[in-house]
């Protein structure tokens, strides 16, 4: 099977967010970059699929030169080769343009059976790019797959479970298809030391975004970013001897909390 996995690089989950001087982007100066956490699950699923059915895993990633680090991480986990769509941060880029460009490059690669990607990227958080890529490629997708029940290349189908409100849904989809991955669908492996060594020698092709046409692709523009400031009251009831409330304090703390919620916060 030819298995594709689309990954992106993002700022660390714990990163403190600061708005740039221009006011419409995030200041990424000095930030730690990581593989988008949801994409780790996608890479793991791609590698498990290869282990079961044979074939190759091709990593596709778009972004500036620094994303090579994330690509190498996917290769070290067990992917075989990679395509880096180099974009040095075009100001007119939005999710729509990104989806178009990635889909265009994937179409050129061709011959794939299945595509995995994270359900969303934790910076932009729109969750639209994966679905859009499937649509551009003219293949069906299943989003937010909690479990891949079966991939059957000879019957040309995949069966996936998807969680919905109040239950779940099982969807059977023909190959090729695209699957978007939430967390917890598997346990992403760590790259082994030999894996990391081997990754350095695996083939990585680079194409530049300026080679493709970005003109008029963007659909929306970010005009401002604000960091929400919610002041919390931090009224914490603690025990007298030791942090926890104990014995008679328990009853009293419950009473006090009820009183605060009723009289101060007025929520019960």
């Amino acid at each position: 099977m030819k298995i594709l996995v689309i990954v992106s690089q993002t700022q660390d989950t714990e990163a403190k967010i600061k708005v740039s001087a221009a006011g419409n982007s995030i200041d990424t100066e000095g930030m730690k970059w990581i593989m988008n956490p949801y994409d780790e699950f996608a890479v793991e699923e791609a590698i498990q699929t290869k282990e079961k059915h044979g074939g190759e895993v091709v990593v596709v990633s778009m972004g500036p030169a620094r994303v090579v680090e994330t690509i190498r991480q996917a290769l070290a986990m067990g992917a075989d080769s990679a395509l880096h769509i180099l974009d040095e941060g075009s100001p007119d880029m939005d999710s729509f343009a990104m989806g178009k460009i990635i889909a265009g490059e994937i179409r050129k690669l061709g011959g794939f059976d299945i595509v995995f990607t994270g359900m969303k990227i934790i910076d932009e958080e729109s969750g639209q790019v994966g679905v859009q890529i499937a649509e551009e490629l003219g293949i069906p997708h299943v989003s937010l797959v909690s479990k891949v029940i079966e991939i059957n290349p000879s019957a040309n189908k995949a069966v996936c479970q998807k969680e919905i409100d109040g239950g779940h849904m099982v969807v059977e989809v023909p190959l090729p298809c695209l699957i978007t991955c939430p967390d917890a669908m598997n346990e992403p492996r760590y790259a082994s030391l030999p894996g990391i060594m081997k990754a350095k020698k695996k083939p990585l092709t680079e194409v530049k975004v300026s080679d493709t046409n970005l003109d008029g692709l963007a659909r929306v523009k970010t005009v401002e970013i604000k960091v929400p400031q919610i002041e919390r009251k931090l009224r914490i009831i603690k025990g007298q001897d030791g942090p926890m409330v104990k014995g008679a304090e328990v009853e009293k703390s419950a009473e006090e909390l009820i009183k605060l919620l009723r009289e101060e916060a007025k929520v019960i």
Binding site: I26, A134, I164, H168, R219, V220, K233, V245, I268
Partner: protein
Amino acid sequence: MSNEVWVVADLKIDGSVRQVTFEALSEARKKIAGKLGGELCGVLIGSGVSGHAAELGKYGAEKVYVVDNELLKDFNTEGYTIALSELIKKHSPAVVIAGNTVFGQDYFPAVAARVGAGVTMDAIEIDLTNDKKLKIKRFSHSSKAIPTQVFLDHHPMMTTVRPNSFKAVEDPKTPEVVDGAVTINSGDIKSKVIEIKTKGSDRPELTEAERVVSGGRGLGSEENFKYIYQLADMLGAAAGATRAAVDAGYCPYDMQVGQTGKAVSPNLYIAIAISGSVQHFAGMGSSKVIVAINKDPEAPIFQKCDYGIVGDLFDVLPPFTEKVRALVSQS
């Protein structure tokens, strides 16, 4: 292009209309349809759904497009994508809105791609600029930032909206019902839903609830989650959970609140035995009042809540729930 503003109804598995549909209609009427000078329209997609037109009219829909087709009986991505794309191509609305539900997230970006439209997801504010471009606010960066995005010159302008972000306000109209028949061949629907399993619940839905009581890994077992349900029921609240609790099998996945799970913004969020991870807060950090009960005074949640008790949940919760019960039976 017409000036119409569309709200696509989000239907539950049992066929009823989800509240976010009425919220979106009300907000679109207030912020967009007037300024644009266009009709506010509802869109119903499904099988045997035309009966809901009157409900959409109650919240201000002047016109309701109905795509009624046997092949759309249960939600399926491709059927919905074809139905809405064809309808858009035929009538060319200015703005199209849907709820950011599990289904909305699944087919809305596909429709946008198919008709070449811009789309934003999970808006918490919608508005129109002076030159009649859709302008939205949403959360990004694990809910640590709120970007404002403005649409460029492409049509239609599409967005999903976060449930419980707007008030549903009645504005009764008798809508004109328009048959939006589109041709769908069964061969067009390549992915098949082969099983749907749901079990009903008497509790309010997480994304619609005014109050939420959530449990974390510290609950320790499925059995112990009864403490969460008891308190939730006492408060008329929805019951939620962290991923750690869901992963451990203490409760079903649809209770998960957070970056992956549901985004909630109730008046009262009670977090029991929850440490307060960034990912959990991404889904509930904008709640009005946050209460934490946790035995670890160093738990990060104590740095970002309004009220809290440092204590063992098995000590604190029974008397707390009992006092809530007494309060409820008084009033």
